[in-house]
C-alpha cells in the first residue's frame, strides 16, 4: 500500500507539473499581453514598452522565463500581476477564502443531495420516489447554472423576499449560491450512484443473500457496500465541474473570489494572474483525484493490485 500511495501521489505531482508547463507555454508563447495593452493605451512609446518588458523579464527567451517561473513556483512565488504589480500569491490569497467557502458548501450540498437522490433512484427504481429522483438528477444535468441561478434569485429574493440575492459577503449571502451550485453538482453524483447500485443489485452474491433468507434491509446493506464504491471517484471528478461552476456562480451572484479574479485577468490579458489561478486549480483538482483513488484502493484491494 505504501508504494501505491507514493506512486499515485507522485503521478499526481507529475501531471500537475505538466499542466503548469502547458499553461506556461500556451499563455506566454503568444504575443500581446497586458504590458502592451496597458502601456499602449496610456500612450507610451515603443521604447518605453520595451524597457518595461525588459524590467519584468518578459524580453528574456522563453526557456529562461520558464526556469525562472518554475523556480518561483517551488518557493511559492507565482510572479506579479502585469496590471497592478501585486504578487499573484497575495491576490489569490485575498480571494481564495470566498471561493473555498462557496465550493465546500456546494460540495457538501451536492454530496448530500446527490447521494439521497442516487439511493432513491438505485434502490427503488420503479417507485414514484425513484422516478422523481431520476427526473431531478437529469434536470440538474440539463439546466445551465446561469439560468437556475437567475430563477433562484427571482423566486427567493424577488417573489418570496427570503434571502439576499446578488452582492454582499455575509453568510446569508452564501446560501443561494451554495444551493444552486450544489444542486448542479448533485446531478452526476445521483446518476452514478443510482446506476452503480442498480448494477450491484444484479450481482450473484445478492441472490445468495436473498436465497439464504436475509431480511431485505440487510440485503440492501450488502448492495450498498459494493454499489457505493464508485461514488468516491465521481465526487472527486465533480470537483472539476464545481471549480468551473464557481466562476459562473460568482459572476451571476456578483461575489468576490477566484472566478472573478480570473475573468478580470482574462479581460486585461494579465497572464501571470491567469496562469496562477489556472495552475492552482489544476493542482487542487489532480491532488483531490489522487486522494480519491487512494481511498478507493483502501476500501477495494483489487485496485491496488491492478495499479
Amino acid at each position: 500500500m505504501a508504494t501505491y500511495v507514493l506512486r499515485r501521489l507522485g503521478a499526481a505531482l507529475v501531471v500537475a507539473w505538466l499542466a503548469m508547463s502547458a499553461a506556461f507555454v500556451v499563455l506566454r508563447g503568444l504575443p500581446g499581453d497586458a504590458v502592451d495593452a496597458t502601456l499602449a493605451r496610456a500612450g507610451a512609446s515603443e521604447a518605453e514598452v520595451a524597457a518595461q518588458r525588459q524590467r519584468l523579464g518578459l524580453a528574456d527567451p522563453l526557456w529562461q522565463q520558464y526556469i525562472h517561473y518554475v523556480g518561483g513556483v517551488v518557493r511559492g512565488d507565482l510572479g506579479r500581476s502585469l496590471v497592478s504589480g501585486q504578487p499573484v500569491t497575495e491576490m489569490i490569497g485575498q480571494q481564495m477564502g470566498a471561493t473555498a467557502a462557496l465550493a465546500l458548501g456546494a460540495l457538501t450540498v451536492g454530496i448530500a443531495l446527490g447521494l439521497s437522490l442516487g439511493l432513491a433512484g438505485g434502490l427503488w427504481p420503479r417507485s414514484a420516489a425513484g422516478g422523481l429522483a431520476k427526473a431531478f438528477a437529469s434536470l440538474a444535468l440539463s439546466t445551465p447554472v446561469y439560468w437556475t441561478a437567475t430563477l433562484a434569485i427571482y423566486l427567493f429574493t424577488v417573489v418570496l423576499g427570503l434571502l439576499p440575492g446578488t452582492g454582499g459577503d455575509g453568510p446569508r449571502h452564501l446560501i443561494l449560491p451554495v444551493m444552486v451550485l450544489g444542486f448542479h453538482t448533485a446531478g452526476a453524483i445521483a446518476q452514478v450512484t443510482a446506476r452503480s447500485i442498480r448494477e450491484a443489485a444484479t450481482l450473484p452474491f445478492v441472490q445468495t443473500a436473498r436465497a439464504k433468507g436475509l431480511p431485505e434491509a440487510e440485503v440492501a446493506y450488502h448492495i450498498l457496500r459494493v454499489g457505493l464504491l464508485p461514488v468516491v471517484a465521481v465526487i472527486a471528478l465533480q470537483l472539476g465541474f464545481l471549480l468551473g461552476g464557481t466562476v459562473i456562480t460568482e459572476t451571476i451572484f456578483v461575489r468576490r473570489g477566484l472566478g472573478r479574479l480570473l475573468l478580470t485577468a482574462i479581460n486585461t490579458r494579465d497572464f501571470p494572474v491567469i496562469q496562477g489561478v489556472v495552475t492552482l486549480t489544476a493542482l487542487t483538482y489532480s491532488l483531490v483525484n489522487a486522494v480519491a483513488d487512494l481511498l478507493y484502493a483502501q476500501v477495494d484491494p483489487r485496485v491496488r493490485r491492478e495499479g
Binding site: V15, A16, L18, A19, S21, A22, A23, V26, L27, L30, S138, L139, L141, S142, T143, P144, V145, Y146, W147, T150, L151, I153, Y154, V158, L239, G240, F241, L242, L243, G244, G245, V247, I248, T251, I252, L262, L263, A265, I266, R269, F271, I274, V278, T281, A282, L283, Y285, S286
Partner: protein, 265 residues
Amino acid sequence: MNAGHSRLALVILAGAVLLSALAPWLATHDPRHAVPADQLAPPSREYLFGTDLLGRDVFSRTLYGGRRTLGVALLTVLITLLPGLVIGLVAGYGGRWLDTTLMMVMDALLAFPNLILALALIAVLGNGVMQVALAVGVAGIPAYARVTRAAVLEARALPFVEAARALGARPAAILWRHIVPTVAPPLLAFAGVTLSWAVLNGAALMFLGFGGDISAPDWGIMLADARASFRTAPWTALAPGVALSATVFAINLLAGALAEHPANR
C-alpha cells in the same frame, strides 16, 4: 431508458433544430432591432415573449439565438471529435511509446477542469464566436481521446480481433474492419455527452461575455442581458433558459439511451 424517452428526445431536438433553421421565416421582428419605446414590454400579441431591456423582441431573438448557439455547438463538437478520435486511435493502436507520450499530454490537459481550460484558451485566443468554438472544442479533446483509447484497447483484446491478427491481417485492415465498427457505438454515445457539454460550455462563455458581438441573438448572451432585467421582467430570462435547458435535456436523454443500447453493454 426506454423507447418513449428516446422519441421525446428526438421530438425536442428536431423542434429546436427546425425552429432555429426556420428563424428567418418564423421571426416576427428583426432580432437586433431595438425599439426604446417598447422596452421590457410583457408578452403580448405584438411581442409573443415580450421585449428585453433595449426593446428587442425576445421571441425573434430566441429563434435566431438557436441558430447561433446550436451552430457554435456543432462546430465545437467537430473540433473535439476529429482530433480526439485520431489521438485516441493512434494511442490505442500505435504502440507503447506513442501511447505513453500522447496520454501524458492528455492527462496534463485533463488536470484542468473543463471550463477552466476553455477559459485559459479564450485568454489566448481572444473574444469571438470562432474563438469560443475553438476554446470549448479543444478543451473537450483530452476526454474524447481518452475514451477512444480505452475503447480501442478493449476492442484489441477481443477474441475475433486477436484471431484476425493471428491470421496475418494487416494492421490497417484490422483497424478499419474490426476495431472501428466495434468502438463506434460507445464513441457515438460519448459524442452525445460531448455535444451536451459543447452547448452548455459554449453558452457559458457567451454568457461570460467572450462571444465578441454582444448584441448578437444567442441564448447565452440573452441570459447575460437578462441579468439586468429579470427582476422586473422575468420573461427576458424565461425563453432562452427554457430553450437551452430543453435542448441539453434532449441531448442527454439521447446520449443516455445510446449508452444503454445493447451494442454498448
